[in-house]
Subunit: 223 residues, 2 copies
């Protein structure tokens, strides 16, 4: 996977909006076109670029072609006065415990050498820092894939509890950080009263609870 191709694909607002939409569920062209108020022709062009960059794939279902995100991947860009570095991480730490221990050891070595006698000392420290960076990137990728795996399980579990689309969307919204009925209604373009009713039903089922934050009532999934 090439960082440049991916940054090119991500460097466009419409394509980022399409990715956000596909992260909710697989969609077909006219669905995307309607949701994002974008001409179908433009949607098709953006989908082609995203597909070329390897970020999405499609499948046919009846007469429709659905597009979906088929990647589990992280892109990291590091920018500093003497550095510009882009990387795509899809590799996971093979042994997580070892990776954390090793990162810890590198840190200790880095912190021990606050005193540099010569250029070799500084350079060795640079190499240690670079290695620590790589190890942490792999750890991060592990966490991320664990997160998205867990999120799939969460979605499966949601299906067992919900009775309609409103309840489904409320749980999805809350899981992604929404905190009030208004927020969810606006984010997903739903009528406020329906969202509120769905929240009430989920509270009665014991899945959602009311919390007080900064003097205001908000909602959260029980945990």
């Amino acid at each position: 996977m090439d960082a440049n191709t991916i940054l090119e694909a991500l460097g466009n607002d419409s394509r980022r909006r399409i990715l956000s939409l596909l992260a909710k569920k697989p969609c077909y062209v006219s669905e995307i076109s309607f949701a994002l108020k974008m001409a179908p022709k433009a949607v098709i062009e953006h989908l082609e670029k995203l597909e070329k960059a390897g970020l999405i794939k499609s499948f046919e279902d009846g007469r429709r072609r659905y597009y979906y995100i088929n990647q589990n991947m992280r892109v990291e860009v590091s920018i500093a006065p003497h550095m510009f570095q882009t990387s795509v991480i899809s590799r996971e730490a093979p042994d997580l415990d070892k990776a954390i221990k090793e990162a810890r050891r590198l840190f200790d070595e880095i912190n021990r050498s606050n005193f540099f006698r010569n250029i070799s000392d500084i350079y060795r420290n640079l190499m240690n820092l670079r290695e620590a960076q790589e190890r942490f990137s792999m750890i991060q990728n592990y966490i991320f894939s664990k997160f998205s795996e867990m999120f799939e399980r969460f979605l499966d579990e949601v299906e067992r509890f919900v009775e309609d689309d409103y309840e489904r969307i409320v749980l999805l919204g809350l899981s992604k950080g929404a905190r009030s009925a208004v927020e969810i209604a606006e984010e997903f373009g739903l009528p406020y009263t329906e969202v509120e009713k769905a929240i009430e039903r989920l509270k009665n089922k014991g899945i959602v609870r009311e919390v007080m934050r900064d003097g205001k009532f908000e909602f959260a999934i029980k945990c």
Copy 2:
């Protein structure tokens, strides 16, 4: 700092090439134009976008305006079937030891709960994973700023040892991963024989050494 504006700025090949160039040293417009074979007008437009995104700044020196990277920042994009997340991290872990310990604790909790009784269990695990992710991002940012700080020290130290631009560039090239005279000559557009001579001088000063890798001779900074 807004992830969208930054991804927009990074989503263009010319701008990424300009950033790579500025990571070597501050440059003025016609210098960039010459190095990247780009019309000055285009260079100016790209510089404006990079400046607007907050990635570069400029200063005047005599009759010239120099552009340089003024940021220490990481951009992370996470892509998965149910997730599309972009973030800009410029915050460091306030207490590194604590951050690592806390990440470790979260991990233990995540690994302990392989058995999920209900949606709350799964959701709690999701929240733990998200928190672990944030902590590791801050740790990564700490490492990265430590790295670029150390790199500045390395460049300062280099100045004390080098006698000319060739030696300077050889050390820079080797520090950024180059392994042979040919690689350095090509990357920086220098005559091969001069690069070779500079390497020889640095070997005699005891800063560079010859290493054998996969049956071939390569060069590395001593450490």
